[in-house]
């Protein structure tokens, strides 16, 4: 089991562009959560997807949107990129039935640099 897989690993975009990040959850997991981790900070919750719907959302603008597919994989889209969007984006998967009580499984992240 490869665990949580994220792609791409690194990305450089220009201010104003749009970006799509991808995540495949751990086998058996049906819930995907996305986090933004700026340098020197802890992960900040963006949103969570379950059954192809956004279930929880953090304090992020509408420029951040997502999608979950029937196979539980997920995408994070960011429109109109700002320099401040430069960060490590983490995907975490879990199993709805057991909840986060057994903890997340994290991917290695996508490093987004906006220039």
């Amino acid at each position: 089991d490869a665990g949580v897989t994220q792609s791409p690993t690194h990305l450089i975009k220009t201010r104003g562009q749009q970006v799509t990040l991808r995540c495949s959850p751990k086998s058996g997991h049906d819930t995907v959560s996305w986090y933004q981790q700026a340098l020197g900070q802890g992960p900040q919750f963006i949103f969570q997807y379950y059954e192809e719907e956004e279930r929880q959302r953090g304090n992020f603008p509408d420029r951040f949107s997502g999608h979950q597919f029937p196979n539980y994989s997920s995408e994070l889209n960011v429109n109109a990129l700002l320099l401040g969007d430069s960060a490590l984006y983490l995907c975490a998967s879990s199993e709805r039935e057991t909840g986060t009580g057994v903890g997340y499984t994290f991917g290695s992240g996508t490093r987004l640099t906006v220039v």
């Binding site: 959560s33 802890g42 992960p43 929880q56 986060t100 009580g101 997340y104 499984t105």
Partner: protein, 110 residues
């Protein structure tokens, strides 16, 4: 609102010395508390959770609801404990959102 505070950005201890990484939380309900660890060049991983009351790699953490704290402790630090440690909080049930603290870097000096 849920909030996690880790007051120390960096904690340096000598090998064999006791370790205590502090974590305080703010949450109106009954929370689930976790410690996550990130070793150099590795992904973030769960270290322990309060509901299991287990000891992992010699680390323990006790939930103190009166002080709203969940400090991570180890009696004798090892060099391999050097890593970034994050305290995290989640609500019970429903669609749970996990909130992380800013993290504490533990540096164990040989």
């Amino acid at each position: 609102a849920q909030r996690v505070t880790q007051p120390e950005k960096l904690l340096s201890v000598f090998k064999g010395a006791p370790v205590e990484l502090k974590c305080n939380y703010s949450y109106s309900g009954s929370p689930e508390l976790f410690w996550y660890v990130q070793y150099s060049r590795q992904r973030l991983q769960l270290l322990l959770r309060h509901i299991s009351r287990e000891s992992i790699k010699g680390f323990t953490a006790d939930l103190n609801k009166g002080e709203t704290s969940f400090h991570l402790k180890k009696p004798f630090a090892q060099e391999e404990d050097s890593a970034m440690y994050y305290c995290a909080l989640s609500s019970w049930g429903g669609y749970q959102k996990v909130t992380f603290g800013t993290g504490t870097k533990l540096q164990v000096i040989p």
